[in-house]
Amino acid sequence: MNEVLPANDAIEYVLGAYMFFLLMVLLYIGILGAKFQRISRDISELTDEVEAGQTGKAPAATPATPATEKADEQAEESRV
């Protein structure tokens, strides 16, 4: 076990390399997070629009509501 941490010999460089790798992975996760947020925002925008469209047509189109709800569900499922 005395090979573990030699006080000499480039340990900063090795750790630096692995840290850089970790940094890149975390950065990528961060970018994914941002992308996910944007998509969530878009989806809530669209949901609002759909619902606004529904209430706009509500008086004449009550039978239409279950149909749009079903379409929303299907969209949700295919997204997962």
Binding site: E3, A17, Y18, L46, G53
Partner: protein, 244 residues
């Protein structure tokens, strides 16, 4: 990919990488020639090999796209190449760190594998402006496939030429992985290689899922209001999943 398989892939990737790196630092013996800094190779070499395999897989998908016309192959080609370019950045940085540790300089022209990787990396960096420059989507996909095939053919040629150009026989650091690599080092190397490979695969799947989601958002938009939401989500460079 279903969320269960994605979860399984993520867990497997993290587990294998953690085990691999733990082995690197706590189990594998020290290299006799280079000492502790040799341990960079358990990170640098798998990244490089996976990136190169990714580039060539991108070429294969390009070929399949030209053959069948199925846009999914173009999407695969793009994502493979994109992620390999990202991995390529990591290859070059870890390679530079190793060079600094070994020779004292951040870059050495005498290490042929590093130099040829740089050239390959630069070539694939041109993939993005190239795609961007072509407006028609179908043409863009076709031309991108041609690029992927040409660049794929280029990779081995380039390595050969650069290697031959090195007249001075420098102590090849990668000789440790060619000549008598002790079993313990080989084992650790393989574990790290599998881990990095799974990481690449995982990131590919995640990118695809992201593109799928963006594509569906666009379709919803357009279904709701064709005039107001004419703009495409997902940019002009990359293929998207708008048309199923």
């Amino acid at each position: 990919m279903s969320s269960n398989r994605l979860k399984a892939l993520s867990i497997a990737t993290v587990a294998i990488l953690v085990v691999g790196f733990a082995l690197v630092f706590f189990w594998t013996p020290m290299d006799a020639d280079q000492g502790f800094k040799q341990k960079i190779f358990y990170l640098h070499v798998p990244l490089a090999i996976v990136a190169l395999l990714g580039f060539m897989a991108g070429g294969v998908e390009g070929f399949r796209h030209l053959r069948s016309g199925d846009k999914r192959h173009d999407l695969n080609s793009y994502v493979f190449i994109h992620l390999s370019v990202v991995f390529g950045v990591a290859v070059l940085v870890t390679g530079a760190i190793w060079a600094k540790a070994s020779w004292g300089y951040w870059w050495v022209w005498e290490e042929p594998t590093l130099v040829s990787f740089l050239i390959v990396f630069l070539l694939y960096c041109t993939y993005y402006p190239f795609r961007y420059a072509i407006e028609d989507r179908d043409q863009q996909a076709r031309y991108a496939s041609v690029f992927a095939i040409t660049a794929g053919a280029f990779v081995p040629l380039n390595f050969m030429a650069v290697r031959m150009a090195e007249s001075v026989i420098h102590p090849r650091v990668f000789a440790t992985s060619e000549g008598g690599l002790p079993d313990s080092m080989l084992f650790t190397f393989l574990i790290c290689f599998v881990g990095i490979g799974l990481l690449w695969l995982l990131l590919v799947k995640v990118e695809m899922a992201g593109k799928q989601a963006s594509g569906q958002v666009s379709r919803l938009r357009r279904a709701l209001d064709p005039e107001a939401h004419g703009r495409t989500v997902g940019g002009r460079i990359a293929p998207n999943m708008e048309t199923p």
